[in-house]
């Protein structure tokens, strides 16, 4: 089992060092690029989705993880902060969706209670599931729980063949992921219209993801043909040069080329769809960010905005200026990338 950058005492465990390294290896500034395209300032115009990163604890230690998550991390959202989130949801009925991520979010002891509460508030709930958690003894009943509360499952699977999946996520992950997907299908996922199952693929290396629609067609055909597995949609996500993926890019001497690749593929048409424009991200300690990536880089909301979920009110964070840095080129390369996949 690999260890987190934090446990290894790597300088790149520090967000400030990550931002410096990105500056050193990027030939342009994201803000200036938006200015040239007359797309600056980048403003959020609504908050449809509240994304909670409920902790850094995970049963896996994937090599590309932008959270630097793993079994050796201890940070978890406390019950109290979950309650602050529920209060915010009650105050702000326009937030339709609660998107729960981690780490492995299901490992947080308050996860199930929180899902139940969100559903009783009538919110759509998404669980960003790494699949292998379903294959652990303590979480074996997760498919039934998720189905019982009509939680949308967004599951990570880099490829429908084992090679890339195991290279990125660890030996044996592919087989466990297939077993978990079959269990999700067995309780109705992808067959019952109320039980959506989306798969997320991100490249196992320093290259961009392919065309989402073309890949989805192929994945549906191949997963069904090879394993009898069904799913609703495929999201292609660009690897963000943050934390462990940044560390790997740097170590493998790919960082400058990768940043040049993101810059070269900059697509002005992808800017309007970046996810920070319609979401807000909450850290395990309740702090607020424009997105999960900014959260990992400790780029908190811009000046004058609330700092903590308990201070969030309906209007203050709409029309906010988003804080950007060079990692944002990852969201605007090619067909764009967000938690919901390609954006154009």
């Amino acid at each position: 089992m690999g260890r987190s950058l934090q446990t290894l005492g790597s300088p790149l465990a520090q967000p400030r060092r990550q931002l410096e390294l990105l500056d050193e290896h990027t030939d342009a500034s994201f803000q200036e690029r938006l200015e040239v395209e007359r797309l600056w300032p980048l403003n959020a115009d609504t908050v449809d989705v509240l994304q909670l990163n409920v902790g850094r604890v995970c049963n896996q230690t994937c090599r590309h993880c932008h959270v630097d998550a793993g079994p050796d991390r201890r940070e978890q959202m406390s019950h109290e902060v979950f309650e602050d989130c529920l209060d915010a949801l009650e105050r702000i009925p326009s937030i339709a969706t609660v998107d729960i991520t981690g780490g492995a979010p299901e490992m947080n002891p308050s996860f199930r209670w929180f899902v139940e509460r969100c559903r009783s508030l009538g919110r759509h709930v998404m669980d960003r599931c790494n699949l292998t958690i379903i294959e652990t003894k303590t979480h074996a009943d997760l498919p039934e729980f998720l189905a019982g509360h009509q939680v949308e499952v967004v599951a990570s699977l880099p490829h429908y063949r084992p090679l890339a999946t195991d290279a990125q996520r660890g030996d044996g992950v592919f087989d466990k992921s297939l077993a978990a997907l079959k269990k999700l299908n067995a309780v109705g996922y992808a067959d019952d219209p109320a039980l959506r199952l989306s798969l997320v693929t991100n490249p196992a290396g320093a290259f961009l993801p392919g065309d989402q629609a073309a890949l989805e067609k192929e994945w549906k055909r191949e997963l069904l043909r090879r394993y009898g597995i069904r799913f609703n949609s495929l999201f292609t996500i660009t690897n963000m040069p943050i934390a462990r993926f940044l560390d790997w890019l740097h170590d493998s001497d790919n960082l400058s080329d990768y940043m040049a690749r993101l810059l070269g593929a900059f697509n002005p048409g992808a800017v309007s769809g970046v996810m920070c424009r319609s979401m807000l991200s909450v850290g395990y300690d309740g702090r607020l960010y424009d997105c999960d990536f900014n959260q990992m880089l400790e780029l908190e909301l811009s000046e004058g905005m609330p700092r903590h979920i308990r201070d969030l009110d309906a209007d203050s964070v709409k029309q906010r200026a988003v804080r950007v840095h060079q990692h944002c080129f990852g969201c605007t390369a090619g067909l764009g990338s967000s938690c919901g996949g390609a954006t154009v």
Binding site: R161, A164, A204, F207, L208, P209, G210, D211, A214
Partner: protein, 111 residues
């Protein structure tokens, strides 16, 4: 001793070929782009064919470009290696099958 006949950056500078005979370059790049669109063959399948041909013609620029492109189109290293074996098998087979010409000559010339 870093100077070589092949320079990596020449691949990025390929569009400069249009500085002379621009009409021909434009025709080439348009046609090239159209060839690789999804069609009766998927863009991923075309990318694998390109990778294999790149090995057959031993073009380091094409090998660089289509190694990345094949990954980006969703192929993995196993599939790409099999594609290169196809190119190698055709090259090897093409040599070997010419052995039949040799045999023809030998049979004609020999008692």
């Amino acid at each position: 001793m870093s100077e070589t006949y092949y320079k990596r950056d020449d691949l990025n500078r390929f569009p400069e070929i249009g500085k002379n005979a621009p009409d021909l370059a434009a025709k080439f790049f348009d046609w090239y782009g159209a060839v690789f669109q999804d069609g009766a063959l998927s863009a991923r399948e075309k990318s694998l064919i390109a990778l294999a041909v790149a090995h057959a013609v031993q073009c380091p620029y094409c090998i660089d470009a289509y190694s990345r492109d094949a990954l980006e189109k969703g192929s993995d290293a196993d599939q790409m290696t099999e594609a290169v074996h196809v190119a190698a098998a055709i090259r090897g087979g093409a040599s070997l099958v010419h052995g039949m010409q040799m045999r023809g000559h030998v049979e004609k010339l020999s008692m």
